[in-house]
């Protein structure tokens, strides 16, 4: 555990909406070494963004609550910090990139000032020094420095995402959380931005938590992968485990089955049946049981425990001892 730079232990988060409780995250455990990239894969409602907001402690004050678990970055226990202390870390130790570039920037403040604000908050220097740093950052992300005084609406989607990245990396944080950074972008722009993120990550030796639903992006950017379904991690391992491994959690197989492949000319996809679970009343036993093609009796009663093989862990009765049957 010692070389673990960032780890989440058994984290659970709930939302209180009107009169019902939404169980968004139900006990996830993750960890990352310094400089590594961990891909968090899952569909809408899997609890990816909620986990990220929990790490940044940006859950909506009145309705979002961390029910259990701990989050440590470096040697700091995030959940135990007071609000001012946490505020000092946000943007300095931990930074975040958001999904929709169109709305992530304040439309009435110049791009330069929005980046400058991060420096003002954490690295108080002379005005000139900070301005120079902003120019440097803009060049770093591939935007000419003179455009610092322009406003967000004068930039394309791709350009705006570069500004958000510049803002996040301004204080060279140790942990960067990217919540679907390229989903809203076109393919060619996505390629440019991903390439840039990879270069900056290695240059600044930042460890990154990349949240996405696109397995292709994971294959090209991440070192480790965790697949989430209905607030739980169903499969975890190195990129090789996930992409080249033989045994997979049925949901992972379903995901791979749903993606049309460029090279193979299969006429029909074999998608996962049914619909995403309702977070307010999750099924008994394994959450995936209602949609799982190889669902057994036990799956409906007991929720599966992790079966570990090397770096590869799968939470499914198929492979666990009680299940009896093996692949």
């Amino acid at each position: 555990m010692s070389d673990k730079f960032f780890s989440i232990e058994n984290l659970s988060v709930e939302y209180i909406a009107d009169d019902e409780v939404v169980k968004a995250v139900n006990g996830i455990t993750l960890s990352m070494k310094r400089g590594e990239t961990l891909g968090l894969v899952g569909e809408t409602g899997a609890g990816k963004t909620t986990s990220a907001l929990a790490v940044m402690r940006l859950l909506p004050p009145r309705t979002g609550r961390v029910v259990s678990g701990s989050i440590t970055v470096g040697d700091i226990d995030i959940l135990s910090l007071s609000e001012p202390e946490m505020r000092k870390l946000r943007g300095e130790l931990v930074a975040m990139i958001y999904q929709d570039p169109m709305t992530s920037l304040n439309p009435v403040i110049t791009v330069g000032d929005q980046i400058l604000e991060v420096l003002e908050l954490h690295k108080r220097q002379s005005k000139a020094a900070m301005k120079a740093r902003v120019a440097e950052l803009l060049e770093l992300v591939g935007i000419s420095a003179e455009r610092a005084d322009e406003y967000p609406h004068q930039f394309s989607g791709g350009m705006r995402q570069r500004v958000v990245i510049a803002m996040a990396l301004a204080c060279e944080p140790e942990l960067l959380i990217a919540d679907e950074p390229t989903t809203a972008l076109d393919v060619t722009i996505q390629a440019q931005v991903l390439q840039m993120i990879r270069e900056l990550k290695t240059k600044l030796n930042t460890s990154m938590l990349l949240i996405t639903h696109d397995l292709g992006v994971v294959a090209h950017t991440c070192d480790n992968v965790a697949i989430m379904y209905a607030g739980e991690i169903v499969e975890q391992g190195t990129v090789a485990d996930i992409f080249n491994g033989k045994r997979h959690h049925p949901y992972t197989n379903g995901l791979f089955g749903s993606i049309p492949r460029l090279n193979k000319q299969s006429k029909r996809l074999n998608p996962i049946e049914g619909m995403l679970p309702d977070p307010t009343n999750l099924p008994e036993g394994c959450n995936f049981s209602p949609r799982c093609p190889s669902c057994m009796e036990i799956c409906k009663i007991k929720s599966p425990r992790f079966v570990q093989s090397g770096t590869h862990r799968i939470a499914c009765h198929l492979y666990s001892s009680e299940g009896g049957a093996n692949a």
Binding site: M56, L58, R87, K88, L89, R90, G91, E92, A95, M96, Y98, D100, T103, S104, L105, N106, P107, V108, I109, E117, V118, L121, H122, Y151, H153, Q154, V164, M167
Partner: protein, 314 residues
Amino acid sequence: MYRYVIKRLLLIIPILLGVILIVFTIMNVTPGDPGRHMLGMSAPQEAVDALNETLGYNDPFPVRLLNYLKNMVRLDFGNSYRTKQPVFDEIINRFPVTFKLAIGTMILTILIGIPLGVLAAVRQYSKLDMITTFTALLLAAAPSFWLALLMILLFSLYLNILPPNGIGSFSHYIMPMLTQAVVYAASTLRMTRTTMLEAIRQDYVRTARGKGASEARVIWRHAIKNALLPVITSLGMSFGAMLGGTIVIEQVFSMPGLGSLVILAITTKDIPQTMAVTIFLATLFCMIMLVVDLLYAFIDPRVKTRYLQGRLAR
């Protein structure tokens, strides 16, 4: 930017023409005549007719309209039937009163309306939100002359610290300003609350929090700037209305403002005076709307770029 401003200024002319046509028709089509007003009920009819003749009130409506427009082009708005002086003299010495009152009310409205509106939004559904909204609605709902009379009784009569009516020193303006500000502050408060709620939910507020900005900084540097855009337009409109003078306040506090001039002019069928005041107010209103739009562009860069291309932003 200038092309746009010029285009907007040119646009005021058709509006003014429309206003003139509507008001001139209403004033001339209605029964009653200035002569009867000036001579009173008991004056004999021949005298009234003679007077009307001298005022040119008896020739047919289209002729009167044409004459009026002809003179107007030569910037001769004619004399008031009542005082026989050029109509704009009356306006010029009454306008400062209404203007001072309007400025004072605007300051109070902004100082009370906006901070409380923001407060109510930030602490939505809290006790504070309930209290401010409730009192705002309560005061806004009270008829203004009821409020004015209560104030006179309290401050002038019992406490004897403020003059009950008339104008002169600044203290004469305090009560009228409060009476008028109450209504506008209440509506500004409610509007700010709504736009703030809207702004707080935007993504860039979450980004700002993600940068480590404190709650106060997020509110006052990021959210409020966007939330105030629509409020500016409504404040502009209210300011336009205020400049029209409030008849009720001017009546209760005996202040010679534009509002009472409008009433006086209409009831005494003083057509040149009514026209002059209406044109003056209409032009002022259009100017204010232009200033508001430019202010809007100044603050919201997205609108500014559209202006630079000369497109009308409505």
